[in-house]
């Protein structure tokens, strides 16, 4: 099993602020896991006994609305932590986490994280900055949901995925989402998401290869109204 001290992934998240000692202690109590595409990492309401450090893959965080539809609130990729919020609030999770492709994660027990938060102000400040960033992103999503059309939201989602999660060698978006997932990010009906994607295709903004989507006109997409 890999050692946290030497793991390059931690550079991308708050774990980088831990001391060598703290990292060694975490290394000795963490467990590595492989998670298959589609697998549920945790459910809404689950009590989390630690955080996950995502070494590879992507997952979606969603919440079930009262009308029975899932709303994707955030996507977590390689390098990020998963589950900090519930841990810090000492509450059960308000979100469900499902793997969007095969994942490699390390599970770090709660006790270790909490101890480090209380001892190491640098780590704690780093987690705080992470959370502040998430909160800002959430604010932006609220405004978009409230004020923009489905078309605009879907265009922005494509751009976001393109910019943040990258593309395959052939230029298609590397994170493969179903049309239902897109609908669930944008907050619309699956049929509406499909329709809008079809329209983008007709307008030459994107092309599709099976389920894969390739952005052909980033500028055009960003100007969608």
């Amino acid at each position: 099993m890999g050692k946290c001290e030497q793991c390059i992934i931690k550079q991308f998240n708050s774990l980088k602020s831990l001391t060598k000692d703290e990292l060694m202690r975490i290394s000795s109590c963490k467990t590595s896991k492989t998670i298959k595409k589609g697998e549920v990492i945790f459910e809404e309401g689950d009590t989390l006994n630690g955080v996950y450090c995502v070494k590879d893959g992507v997952c979606k965080l969603s919440k079930l609305s009262e009308n029975g539809k899932d709303q994707i609130v955030k996507m977590v990729v390689k390098g990020q932590l998963l589950g900090q919020r519930s841990l810090i609030s000492n509450e059960s999770s308000n979100l469900q986490a499902v793997a969007l492709n095969d994942m490699e994660v390390c599970f770090i027990p709660k006790s270790e994280i909490i101890a480090d938060l209380q001892k190491n102000p640098k780590f704690s400040f780093d987690v705080l900055q992470d959370m502040a960033h998430d909160l800002k992103e959430a604010d932006d999503i609220i405004v978009n949901m409230a004020q923009k059309s489905v078309k605009q939201r879907l265009a922005e989602t494509l751009i976001y995925i393109h910019n943040n999660f990258g593309v395959n060698p052939d230029g298609t978006l590397s994170v493969l989402l179903s049309r239902e997932d897109y609908a669930s990010i944008v907050g619309t009906a699956t049929e509406s998401a499909i329709r809008v994607l079809s329209q983008f295709k007709k307008e030459g903004l994107i092309t599709t290869v099976g389920k894969f989507i390739k952005i052909e006109d980033l500028n055009g997409l960003s100007r969608v109204e």
Copy 2:
């Protein structure tokens, strides 16, 4: 000028975790301000040089959407802190803050807060918990925006204000919002907000006394579809 050590307001926010020493230092460098209803506390893009501790009154935090409409993202009341997020991210504010009624606030300089965050793990953890709570609320708003109707969102807003900000002796909501503000919370056109309120009135769910709104049937409101 009041002393932070003796101020009861701090019980309601993370400042309660500061030591007597830290509070005395803050007390000596803070400034008290009175802010009139409608006054802008800070603008989107402003660099904040500290946080505000709200001693009295309520303000709205909003963000200007690209279509020119303001979206209210959160309301901050007596007892809460204002401006922590930007301070922690070390970024300019992503939101505008406007007083909804006359306010009493204390302004605490950035340097002091940052120093305390770095020295006092208890304080830092407390701020972290606050932020985690805000993030959870933001998640809920995203889901509501995406999945619920204007009618449902407005009903929930009324209930939220009723439960969190209280009522006047005559039972009307103590926070007085314009119809435009309601629209801006719910994310709809002002006319739509007005229409829905009229409908609630016809259905006996609320009554209005001028601008004031009184919830007559809390149960009914929570069952709106």
